[in-house]
């Protein structure tokens, strides 16, 4: 007999959820199942003590993703689940698959439809870089460092040429 995903009692309830075309199976004991189902009904469980530590949000039986870590900040999904805070913006990319069901359970949605930066990320990065290069160019000209100024001018021209892959 399978053990409950949340405690050590035998799992007596087997819940199959279909959400956004994805099927996932949950095996829980009666108590945990009741708790899980009442949380689902409430629509949001964001206020609970360890908001993201609950296996019910996880998906698969075993969680190989728990050991997945962000190359930028070293955050693991396991650590995130225990502390409830992500380490850096890249975590959203690294843990995307695991975060989607969690976000759906918190917000009921997974796609942002609100305000967007006027400059899309790629364009904005370029904008920033250009501003930096232009100010360096100005400084180079003022310092009569024409060799450096020429190199900077070339970099600016390259950045100013619209890229085909940018939105």
């Amino acid at each position: 007999m399978k053990k409950c995903r949340r405690c050590t009692k035998p799992a007596t309830l087997h819940i199959t959820e279909i959400k956004g075309g994805e099927v996932r199976a949950l095996h829980l004991c009666e108590n945990c199942a009741q708790e899980y189902l009442s949380n689902v009904d409430a629509g949001s469980t964001a206020e609970s003590e360890a908001p993201f530590g609950e296996p019910g949000f996880g998906g698969e039986e075993t969680s190989p993703h728990d050991e997945l870590s962000c190359p930028q900040c070293g955050m693991t999904f396991k650590k995130f689940r225990s502390q409830g805070r992500l380490g850096c913006a890249h975590d959203y990319e690294v843990f995307r698959e695991r975060l989607v069901p969690l976000l759906e359970s918190i917000h009921g949605e997974r796609q942002h439809i609100g305000k967007c930066p006027r400059q899309r990320p790629e364009g904005s990065r370029r904008h920033h870089e250009l501003a930096r290069l232009r100010s360096e160019l100005k400084a180079a000209v003022e310092a009569e460092d024409y060799e450096r100024a020429a190199r900077l001018r070339d970099s600016i021209r390259e950045l100013e040429t619209p890229r085909t892959d940018s939105p």
Binding site: G43, P51, Y92, H107, P121, R125
Partner: protein, 355 residues
């Protein structure tokens, strides 16, 4: 503007003006934003925190409101001053209690607060007296636009603005309205409000936010969902529900007056009497009694004292404010004496209406 000048003034949200200010104390919009290239503050080491603080401090300084910002380093501030800013609603409790390089930029009349290295790199807050969420959003959005033309905030095409905690991801926006609901508390109808809010995915919190007690019958209503809705949709939900709560509170109050005017008048007058004559009083009792008096003023049962004074007293009688006003470090028992003395000074003059 300097830190000490805050002690002698009071914030915009205490003015007691603005739409429906008999019941709505203040409206607030908060946006969470992060710099993509740095770890979020809870995971950042000292060097990263210092670098983020330097970048963002420079950026908020160069905003059009930048010259008028009072910038305060929270990490070099003593515990009393930190608590003072929390009581004043200018920083969060978390911002006061966490560690490392962090700061806050405070706008003129305290309508704006920009926290650096709170749970997110930047937490921006616009505050208004009364029920004025749309004006808050207008100002907040313009400020965000201005910053965004200079700074690249962490953003994902699917998840929107990325935040340290996934409960804020998407818009990163928390819109809240602080309500004074003594009538609904007195009649125990407040439970129905809680239940209705829960069904609408709105959170109800006390005066000082998450986990705080609903002291003085103050309740903050705010959105829980930040992803999958536009900012306007979030505001609309709150803008629709708040007038219904206001209406509910007003109906309960007039029913109370109708049923037993003498009893209510007695309760309010006794509250005022204690506040004017006590020689030692706790913060809790003060809040409780001020709440009665505040309702009494709105119902015409108390004369000679204005709403802004009562609003101010709610804050000035808090522990840190009291100590700052008295320029002294006071133990709890000493504070109760100082609080009673302060209340007697401020409330000399006015009194309950003669029947």
């Amino acid at each position: 503007m300097n830190f000490e000048s805050l002690v002698t003034t009071s914030g915009e949200w205490l003015r007691g003006t603005g739409p429906d200010s008999d019941i709505v104390i203040s409206s607030r919009i908060r946006l969470a934003r992060n710099l993509g290239e740095f770890p979020f503050p809870p995971c950042a080491d000292d060097d990263v925190r210092a670098a983020v603080e330097e970048v963002l401090r420079r950026e908020i300084r160069s905003l059009s409101v930048g010259d008028n910002l009072l910038y305060i380093n929270i990490d070099t501030l003593g515990p009393l001053d930190r608590q003072f800013l929390v009581e004043r609603q200018l920083i969060s409790r978390e911002h006061a209690e966490t560690h490392g390089t962090r700061g806050v930029g405070i706008g003129p009349r305290e309508t704006l607060s920009l926290m650096i290295n709170e749970e997110d790199h930047l937490r921006m807050q616009v505050l208004r007296s009364g029920f004025a969420l749309d004006q808050c959003w207008e100002e907040m959005n313009a400020l965000d636009d201005e910053l965004e033309s200079r700074v690249l905030f962490a953003f994902d095409d699917e998840f929107g603005y990325l935040t340290s905690c996934p409960t804020n991801v998407g818009t990163g926006m928390r819109a809240s309205v602080m309500l004074h609901l003594p009538g609904l508390v007195l009649t125990k109808e407040i439970q129905k409000v809680f239940q209705a809010m829960q069904k609408m995915s709105l959170a109800v919190r006390g005066l000082y936010g998450e986990g705080s007690q609903a002291m003085g019958d103050f309740y903050q209503i705010s959105n829980q969902v930040t992803l999958g809705k536009t900012e306007e949709q979030i505001l609309q939900t709150i803008n629709e529900v708040v007038p219904r709560i206001i209406d509910y509170e007003r109906r309960v109050r007039s029913a109370l007056i109708k049923e037993n005017r003498a009893k209510l008048h007695d309760q309010v007058s006794r509250a005022f009497g204690i506040l004017r004559s006590a020689h030692t009083i706790t913060s809790e009792e003060t809040m409780h009694l001020l709440s009665s008096v505040r309702m009494g003023i709105n119902l015409g049962l108390v004369d000679g004292i204005e709403i802004p004074t009562v609003n101010e007293l709610f804050i000035h009688t808090q522990p840190a404010h009291l100590q700052k006003i008295r320029h002294a470090t006071l133990e709890s028992a000493e504070r109760n004496v100082a609080r009673a003395a302060y209340l007697r000074e401020r409330l000399a003059g006015g009194g309950p209406m003669k029947n």
